[in-house]
């Protein structure tokens, strides 16, 4: 994805975990920036979109390739 501003590599980690890493980096990002989260945690396919929707950011796309979730999120506020 060409307009991605930052890649968060949270593969093979359990604590603080991919969603916590995303929240940390989302705080540092500017509104309108798109972040790509890489995760090998099976739950990320559900719990990341759940948080993104609840807090009001935009889930651009979510795809699992060779066991790794590639989730693109745009910061909206």
């Amino acid at each position: 994805m060409s307009d991605t501003n930052k890649v968060i590599d949270a593969r093979d980690t359990f604590c603080p975990g991919p969603l916590m890493e995303l929240i940390t980096h989302m705080k540092q990002a500017e509104v309108g920036e798109t972040l790509e989260l890489l995760s090998t945690d099976e739950g990320s396919g559900n719990d990341v979109p759940e948080w993104v929707n609840k807090v009001g950011h935009e889930l651009v796309s979510s795809e699992k390739i060779d066991g790794v979730w590639h989730i693109f999120i745009r910061k909206m506020k």
Partner: protein
Amino acid sequence: MRILIVGGGTGGTILANNLARRLASEIRSRKVKLTMLSASDKHMYQPGLLYVAFGQMTPDQLYRDQQSLLEPGIDFHVDPAEEFQLDNNKVITKSGKTHEYDMLVIATGSRIAPEQIPGMSEGADTFYSEAGAVKMFKRLREIEEGTIAVAVGVPHKCPIAPVELVFALHDYFTAKGIRDKIKIKYHYPIGRIHTIANVATWAKPEFDRMGIEYETLFNVKEVDPENKVVRSEEGTETKYDMLIAIPPHTGMEVVEKNNLGTGGWIPTDRHRLTMEGYDNVYVLGDTTNLPVSKTGSAAHFEAEVVAENIASIIKIGIPVRDYDGKVYCFIETGHDSATHAMFDYKNPPDLKPSSKPMHWFKMAYNQMYWSSVRGLL
């Protein structure tokens, strides 16, 4: 060979002592010079702050003189780094002194940043500082009834602390005989009650048994001390009589000021523990941007790897080990029981049953830490 360690916390101290032993003959023959810079002449056992917040330890029990923890071959200065000139292999300190190095280790740690959340500094108690922990205990002694809300900022040091806090609150008010008058409500940033799935699965029935209320997907947006309300980014709010916050953390100011990493976290290779772009600069503990727990345990295991690699580079010209993401956590499950978990990049945490002996072992470790930080354990 000049090795410069910036930071005298858990990671920096274990590394320095480990290196001083591995390179004892090289230091004696002056082939190696090992220097440590720290902002303080004291070393704090930070996990002890939770006990201070419940009146189980006093602050003076948490400190040792930093110099007393260090091997004799270490050249120790209380003179924090102010300027990093990584392309010139130089660090300039607050006093104006310039330290040139061949290998640099940055282990400056992290700090709480309650000021990132409007109202948190004024409205919330916290146990992440000595003054905060003492104030929190005074407040716990006073409160007789009402709602104690626990809110968790991101990122934070010691990810297990929020659940330890809740178990300790339950036991404290149960022992006081007023648990039925105190509502404990726990708020957590993601969609389960702890980031480690096994911990969340284990803690949920414990919370239910203890009558702990919880709200997930709650990221603290602001605290309104006047109306005693804490609000979330997700649009919900909780009224409280006492708010205990796990404040968000940032890296140290000196890291940000020198543009070494966004948020004060330095981009670090997850296996080699070198700073991205600099093969002669290592990063330890909270200071890294690695997606591993910000704990003394992670700093400890990382320090052992870096010590072995720096020593082997000096002795045989190449590093010998990779960091595998290893972390070990004690988990206090109240005032008389505990459990523990160990994990790394490839193996998820395997939570053991809670027991009294594990709590006693944690109590013993609170003293054994001083041997650990000397690099003896």
